[in-house]
Symmetry: C2
Subunit: 743 residues, 2 copies
């Protein structure tokens, strides 16, 4: 017997789809194409029936297996008509199994794979089912006997239940022609969504003609909002009585699904949209609510975990129990007017009233990276350009067909692009260079405009104001609005002595001033000072892109670099990088990393004119916000190195924020800021923000699988390396302390 | 009138050859091949007549112009017969001009180009000679009027003298068939020299068939000794009475042409080979002499400049005045036996009694880089492998057809290879990795050999000795010699009971021990511990190769990196690198570099396990030797950053060593060593070796054209940048001082 398997994936890091194309036969199989004519199709997730054409390509009389809790009666409304048509027209043998119920019964929680596997062997008839069962049981014994007989028995029970739990569905002939059933998911009437996103999401991207792709490479942003993936089992529920309105839950959410909203005095909301009076003098008169987007939540639980209220204001509840109500509430929240509150956006509370311009990405549940990116977009997203290194940040940041970067109420949001892995710093540097040159050219136009003799004094004043403020974020925003208005008005000759001529020319005046004003309008996107960002992981920043990063930092231009440091190449599965610390197990460092973590921050500081900060949101949210705002404000290169817990660490991702806190408390990850502006003021540019370790270094590392696994496999090496790592951490902290204390 | 010029060069950085292929015509010239049929040929250097076929390809009745001091009578013996044959057979119009005498007369020193140019216009008849003269004079006025009328008049005089100085040579018809004349240069009967080096040196490399190149890419070393280029005008002459035998002249010589020699008691030398009694108890009984190789000298004069004797023991004299005598003396010196003296090779004096295994390179006269390389080869050349980044080091280090790396009396010398510019650190790292693996495999063979029961105890002892010392330089040398001897003996069955059998088998025994002993002999090159070196300039180390260099240093393997820091990309003509300091003028920094020099050493030190030193031979020869020996001895990665004065600095290269001294005295280039071994001993690993500046920083930089030119062109920017540079230098020194004082 020969077998062949092709597995087709999407790029989601949480709740992703896999289609397994399996062939079996008595002669070697060399087919190099996907299966389009199947004897057997199984759908392991009931929610897929309205998302994908699960019965597509199945043969006449083939077998279709569904995992669902539905009875035939429930199927009448849960299955879409098109699926029913295929089942009946092709006379399929249609089976259902409630694998989730079985898994819970036999004690396997949500793990349905063993059950579905034995059901497969029973129905697909590849080998005698008795043989399949005995092979599966032997394999289960081998895999789990170290964990005890109970686990083995549980697996045996699951295998048996996969056979007995199958129910053939005797569907009515009417299914062949029915038009009744569940409607396929369709959350928007957006043309791009229908023509491009929807087919790709439905795994039909291969069928799109070339003409559906735009040759310019531009892709609309703000499209993850249409996915509505619904992958969470549990989601947070707000307990308003307990809430202290700190907004920490919102800050740490990796997917931007939990946010504070303010209801104004005149605004009408349904009764289910419960609120409490907003606290703080800046919010007087507003009502406050924490709202989640249930279908976009991954259910990681960090929001509830970080809630600092005496009695938690968030509790995790089953998605199904709140879905309908909270979907409506989310819609209500989306329609609330934008509130211009006077809270400092550089505080935890203040920052979270600003809309995240990065939402619902495909990042892992509990991702340690995305909350940093989200914060940056909240503060600077409306005037931000991002160069992104290849890696996790680019996969969840911009995989076709959707993009999590989105826009504010004015339609402003980050511009984002990903070049290669190795050249991202240079890519961002080039974007900065081009932007500066184009803005300088625009400044020339404005200078010429205000030099035209007959131009209004008012225009001259706003032109001058813009020139004076073009490199200041808020100043350029204010002046740009006025200048655009003035240029628009200047081009309108209605009511002037030139009106007739102007109308005759199709509302075009070719005088010097008008030509220049038009040029200003044509380049409106350049009026506001840009915030240039370069994002990447440690594989990029410490290793493969480091030569370029170093060069770009050395150039002393105003670019901001955010390194999401997971201490391994995360996207490719956890290979060792120069950011991997002593004793940590990673691919290419299976026996524990023998060299210590590279001190990237120290190396950048050696230039003296690079702003450098090391941060850990979970440990000190304010220090992160301080570093972020200082870095962005600094008129030279900035580098922020952010500690990002990752699935590769072997930790509970529902407590990734807490893990980042422990890292700092154990002296594993010191926090500091190096601000060259302080040196110019005659002060010490280096400020150490974290205290001496108050928790045990080795207790911390031994609690993460990336370290603990070394202890299991190579106890002696672990002993030696962990001691060395602890010593190195102590020495590093002491050195930083000395730098901090230098006069 | 249209013109076309192709210029063919060799790769020598001093005394190189240029052949200018010039075409003129009334229609556009699109010939894409070199001239092989010339109306006019000029030879600007009389020494070329015996090196190149200067009259090759000239047309029947064409014009040949020679620059020489020779009369017709002298030509009889100075011109080779082949040249005379061509002149007469082709009925050439043959002219001579003594441009050197004219140049000196009109005050232009050695600059003959203007004189040769006007002679060309007179003879070649491209445009009316009156027009040519007036154009040349106008150009001279434009170029030099800023320098004053005297310079302009000098150029006018040179132009006029180029016309009047021409003499047509009325050669005899007998030249057509003569076999008398100067012999072409041939310094060796070496087969490779004749078949490959000689034709390439004679500019006939294009005519070599492909079959003359070896497909394996290996090229013999020690071949620059055959070039005998004789490019110096003046060479040093030793004044034995004044000599204090410090050997500094030898240490600093960029071309290894001046060396100390010892004559033993029994050795016979000619009378001209004058000596003085060697000083120092280790040299008791020897006689001492400083000997130069006159034809290999470039005449830079650094040897005489650094001579610290009260009355200089070296004086520069015209090459011709000593050539014959010193060539013979050099030959005598080469034949002296190798002296094993007990002087410490890590001292200036001791190091120079070791043969340089890098000699007579094509580097510039006064090169600041080559003395460092030479020292490394003197100490470690016999067991050294070099990975070389592309740049000056690779051009003078290994341009076809010759190689300056050479061998000692045992035939041992550096193995050298150049990969690319950007990957040299990785290249060297790979060499190290391969060497380690191969030696580990050899160690397995030795372990097996000494485990064979019937192997002699003596063999077991030397095998064990080698295993114990294989990673120690001197220990492995001693043990290797013994082990090789033992293996050779073991394979010789003469006089043993197995002799007959062995002879029958063609002197092969296939027993386990013999097979293993043979494997040891086959891998004899691996027995001695290798010294792995990675050479490159600052363009490589600070910029383009930095990503790789950082990665290799981080790997914590035993490789040694020597960065020859000229603070610009030297080989390509002086482009700005990250090593270029604030205010320095370089290509791409024509208005003065705006960012400060990258602190490469500091960045490498951040690892804690990298040995780092910053050195300047001219300032502190002992510190350089200390750093070199510490770096080589350190069992991890080492980085030495060496200050190397360069023609791109716009300085007097005859005083490049003195310039390197001034750089340290002015606080421009601090000296330090960072030795991780000290940290392991609980000491401060950082030692600052240079004192606070005792000379004025700005006086120093303003004395070099790379800075002074900024002052001339942009005085205001110069003021600001020079002040900043001085401040930065002061801050850097203060920071190093703090590091030095840390407890």
């Amino acid at each position: 017997m020969y077998a062949q398997g092709y597995f087709a994936y999407d790029s989601k890091k949480s709740g992703g789809l896999t289609v397994s194309h399996l062939r079996f036969g008595k002669s070697p199989i060399q087919s190099s194409y996907l299966i389009d004519h199947a004897d057997f199709v199984a759908c392991h997730n009931p929610s897929y029936v309205t998302r994908y054409d699960v019965a597509e390509g199945i043969k006449e009389g083939g077998v279709l297996l569904l995992n669902s809790e539905w009875t035939l009666e429930q199927m009448e409304c849960e299955l879409p008509a098109a699926m029913k048509n295929i089942i009946a027209k092709k006379h399929l043998k249609f089976y259902n199994i409630d694998a989730i119920a079985i898994a819970r019964e036999v004690g396997m929680g949500n793990r349905i794979n063993t059950i579905m596997q034995s059901a497969f062997f029973k129905l697909a008839n590849i080998i005698p089912v008795e043989d399949a069962v005995s092979f599966m049981k032997a394999a289960a014994k081998k895999s789990y006997e170290k964990k005890g007989d109970a686990v083995v028995q549980m697996n045996y029970a699951a295998i048996d239940a996969g056979l007995t739990g199958l129910k053939q569905i005797n569907y009515p002939d009417s299914w062949a022609t029915t038009t009744e059933g569940a409607a396929p998911i369709a959350t928007t009437t957006d043309k791009y969504f229908g023509a491009f996103i929807k087919p790709v999401l439905a795994q039909s991207g291969d069928k799109l003609p070339v003409s559906s792709f735009t040759p310019d490479g531009f892709v609309p942003t703000a499209t993850t909002q249409y996915e509505k993936r619904g992958i969470a089992v549990d989601v947070p529920q707000w307990i308003k009585e307990n809430c202290i309105q700190c907004n920490q839950c919102s800050l740490v959410c990796p997917h931007a699904v939990i946010r504070p909203f303010l209801v104004g005095e005149g605004e009408q909301v349904p009764d289910t949209f419960e609120t409490i009076p907003a606290t703080g003098k800046e919010l007087a008169g507003y009502k406050f609510r924490i709202q989640i987007s249930p279908l976009d939540c991954t259910g990681c639980g960090n929001c509830a975990d970080v809630c600092p209220a005496k009695n938690k204001a968030l509790t995790m509840v089953p998605l199904t129990s709140v879905l309908e109500r909270e979907e409506k509430n989310w819609e209500t929240a989306q329609k609330l007017s934008d509130k211009k509150v006077e809270l400092n956006p550089a505080t935890v509370k203040g920052s979270q009233f600003k809309k995240p311009l990065f939402e619902f990405s495909g990042a892992c549940a509990g991702c340690g990276e995305t909350p940093y990116i989200k914060t940056v977009t909240q503060l600077y997203g409306d005037r931000m350009v991002i160069a992104n290194a290849t890696g996790c940040t680019s996969i969840y940041g911009g995989s076709a067909p959707t993009c999590p970067y989105c826009v504010n109420e004015k339609g402003h949001g980050p511009a984002w692009a990903n070049s290669l892995f190795e050249d991202n710093a240079e890519f961002g540097y080039g974007i900065n260079l081009a932007t500066n040159h184009r803005r300088e050219k625009l400044a020339d136009v404005v200078r010429k405009l205000i030099a035209v003799e007959y131009v209004d004094d008012a225009v001259k004043a706003v032109g001058t104001e813009w020139l004076d403020n073009m490199n200041d974020a808020e100043g350029s925003k204010a002046a740009s609005a006025k200048l655009l208005e003035a240029c628009k008005e200047g081009l309108d000759m209605t009511g002037t002595e030139w009106e007739a001529e102007w109308l005759k020319n199709g509302k075009v005046c070719t005088c010097d001033a008008c030509a220049l004003a038009k040029e200003v309008l044509d380049n409106a996107d350049l009026l506001v000072k840009k915030s240039i960002w370069i994002f990447g992981g440690d594989g990029w920043a410490y290793d493969i892109g480091y030569g370029g990063l170093d060069h770009v930092l050395a150039m002393n231009e105003d670019v901001n670099v955010l390194v999401l440091d997971t201490e391994v190449y995360s996207n490719t599965g956890g290979q060792s990088s120069k950011a991997t610390p002593t004793g940590s197990v990673a691919k290419f460092a299976a026996a524990g990393k023998r060299t210590k973590k590279k001190d990237l921050g120290m190396m950048a500081m050696s230039y003296g004119y690079v702003y450098v900060a090391q941060v850990s949101m979970g440990a000190n949210q304010n220090q992160w916000l301080k570093a972020l705002t200082e870095a962005e404000a600094y008129k030279g290169p900035s580098l922020i190195i952010a500690y990002a817990p990752c699935i590769n660490h072997g930790i509970n991702m529902g407590k990734s924020q807490a893990e980042a806190k422990r890292a700092v408390e154990a002296g594993y990850w010191p926090l500091y800021r190096y601000n060259p502006d302080l040196a110019d003021q005659g002060k010490n540019p280096f400020v150490l923000d974290s205290k001496e370790a108050k928790a045990d270094y080795q207790d911390f590392i031994r609690s993460e699988v990336r370290y603990a696994s070394l202890q299991k496999q190579f106890p002696q090496a672990a002993e030696e390396l962990f001691n060395r790592a602890e010593k190195e951490a102590k020495e590093k902290y002491d050195y930083y302390k000395k730098l901090n204390d230098l006069q």
